[in-house]
Symmetry: C2
Amino acid sequence: MKSVGIRDVAERAGVSVTTVSHVLNDTPHTRVAEETRVRVRDAARSLGYGPNRMAQALRTNRSGLIGLLSEEIATTPHAGRIILGAQDAAREHDLTLVIINTEREAEGSAHRNDVQALIDRQVDAILYATMYHRQVSLPPNMQGLPAVLIDSTDRAGIVPAVVPDEVGGAIAAVTHLVEAGHTRIGFLNNDDDVPATHLRFAGYRQVLGEHGIPFDESLVASSPSETLPGYALAREMLSRDDRPTALFCYNDRMAMGAYRAAAELGLEIPRDLSIVGFDNQELIAANLFPGLTTVALPHYEMGAWAVETLVHLIHGEAEFRLLADKPTLLHCPLVIRDSVAEPRAN
Amino acid sequence: MKSVGIRDVAERAGVSVTTVSHVLNDTPHTRVAEETRVRVRDAARSLGYGPNRMAQALRTNRSGLIGLLSEEIATTPHAGRIILGAQDAAREHDLTLVIINTEREAEGSAHRNDVQALIDRQVDAILYATMYHRQVSLPPNMQGLPAVLIDSTDRAGIVPAVVPDEVGGAIAAVTHLVEAGHTRIGFLNNDDDVPATHLRFAGYRQVLGEHGIPFDESLVASSPSETLPGYALAREMLSRDDRPTALFCYNDRMAMGAYRAAAELGLEIPRDLSIVGFDNQELIAANLFPGLTTVALPHYEMGAWAVETLVHLIHGEAEFRLLADKPTLLHCPLVIRDSVAEPRAN
DNA sequence: GTGAAAGCGCTAACAG
DNA sequence: CTGTTAGCGCTTTCAC
C-alpha cells in the first residue's frame, strides 16, 4: 500500500522531481524538451502515479474542495439535481464537492456554524443552495471566500446568484394553454410572499395580455402551495358555471389537488379540463393519470452554472464580480405530458 | 486572510509547538502540566486557532475524507436521506463526506472509475449506496480500503453491509391490516427478481400463517412496480365479486395506482378498502387522499450505521470484520396515515 | 514535563 | 533546459 510519489517517477524517468512536477502540471513559462516530457509521462503512467492531493493542497494553499451548503437534502430530489449538476461541473475542473446539509433558518440566513465547518475543512469556495427561490443574507464568516448562491439571491447584492427564470417558465406554461385554444385559464397560486408567487403570476398576466385575453380576477385564487389547499381551490373554481377550461397551477402538488377535484366533479383530464403544473416533481407529475404537463426547474443547470462561476471567481477574473449585480436567470423548460388538450367544443 | 498556525498558539502560550500539539490532540502517553494545558487552550481559543486539515492529513496519512458512492442522487429523496444519515454520523467523528454520483451499471457492480476518483482524492474509506436492495460485486480497486455497503450486499461476502429488514416491514404492514380486522388481504407485488420482492412476500405469508388466515393465491398478483401496472392489477382484483377488503402494495407507486382503481370503482378508502404501501415516499404517501399508511425504509439509519461501522473498521477493530458474514438488518417502521380502517360490515 | 528537529509529498524560487 | 533546495503546517520520535 506504499504509494508511488513524484520522486519515484523522477528516478524512473532519470530526471529531477522539478522536471516531473513541471511536466505533469504543464507549468507555464517552463521549457522542457519534448523528449523528456514523454519520458516523464511514460514513467508516471507505468508506475500508476497520481499526485497526493493533500501535499499539493498544503503547498499551494488550495484544497480543491468546494463546499456546498444545501437545504433539505433529504426531502425532495431537487437538492439531488443541484448536487449532480455541481458535481459534474466540479469534476470537469478537478474539484471535489463537500456537501453539508443545513437547516433553513428563521432569519432566512445561512447558518454560521455550517459555514464554519466548511471553512475548517479548507474549502476554496462555497456554494449555498436554498430549496426555493428567495432572498437570503449571508453570515459574516462567509466573507472573504468566493461564493455563489443557487436558487436564492443575496440581500446585500454582493454575491453572484443563479435562479430559475420563473416568469419565462410561467409564460411557457400559459402560452402552451393558449395555443391549445384556451381563453378561460384559471391560476391556482401560492399565497406565500416569495418571488415565485409574484413572478409566476406576472408571467400568467403577460401571456394573457399578449394574446388579448382579458384578465379575470375571479380566475385567480391562492392558498398554501400544498395538495389539499390546491384541491379546495380547484374544487371551488371548477364548480362554477363559468368554470375555466384550463388551470395553471403554482406547483405540481397543487395540480395534484386539482386532479382530485376534477375527478370528483366528473371532469376528465384533458378532455374537460387541461392542467399545467410547475416544478416537474417526477414522482408526482409522471405518476398522475394522465401524466402532468409541467414546467421544470433548472436545478441541474443551476448547480453546474454555480460551479462554473466559482471557478472563474477563484481564478480572480474580475468581470465575474459584476455578476452579483443581477442574478442570472436560467431557462425553465416546459415538460409536455398528457394533461393538455384543446378545450371541448361547447 | 493569513490564518493562525500552531506556532502562533505556541508563541502566545509561551510553549513549544510540540506541547501545543500534544495538548490540542490529547495525545496519549504524554504528560503535560494541567496549568500548561489551560494556557495552551486559552491561547488557541483566543486566537481562533483551527488546525490545517491538509497539513494534518499529509503528516498522518489520514485525510479524514469518506467517499460515498451513491446511485440516483437526483431521482428520489432516498439518496438524500442516506447522505444525511451518513453526514450526521460523519460529523460526530470529525469526518468529511465526499459524494460521487454513480450510474447503475449493467453488471450490478460499482463503477471502477468512480471508485478511482475517490481513491485519487485520498479518501480513508468508501461507502457504496445502491438505490434499491440488491447484490453487487465490487471493483478490484476497492480492495484494500475499508468499505461498507448500504442497501446492498456483497456478492463475495467480504464487505460489511446494511439493508432494510424487508420481512419485518412487510410483517408490520400486514399485521396492521389483520389487526384492523381484515382477513382477505390482497398483495400487489413487484415482478422483478430482487430481494425485496421475495422478502416482502415472505412477510405477507408469515403474517397470514401466524393468524391462521389461509393463503389464497388469487389474492396475489405481480407486475412492474410502477403506478400504471399497479392500477391495472388493482382494477382487476377489485372488480371481482370476492374482492379483498385490503391491499398490501409492494411500494407507494403501486399503491397510488390502486387508489385510482378504487376511485374508478367507486370504492372509498379506507371505508371500502384499506391500503398499505411500502417505501414512504413522502411526495406520494402524504399527498394522496387519504394519506397513505406505508412502511418507511431506514435510509437515514443505514447511512448513519454505515459511517459508524466504517469508523470501527478504520480503527482496525477486528471483530467488525465479522460483520461481512451476514448483512445487518435495520428496522422498517410503519408510518400510519389514513388509508386503513376496519373492513366494512357486510 | 517540555522542546528540537525531522520529515509527510509536493511546488516554486533560484541557480546552473 | 534541468536540478537543488526551501518550505507549506503539522505530528512524532527522541533528547533533555
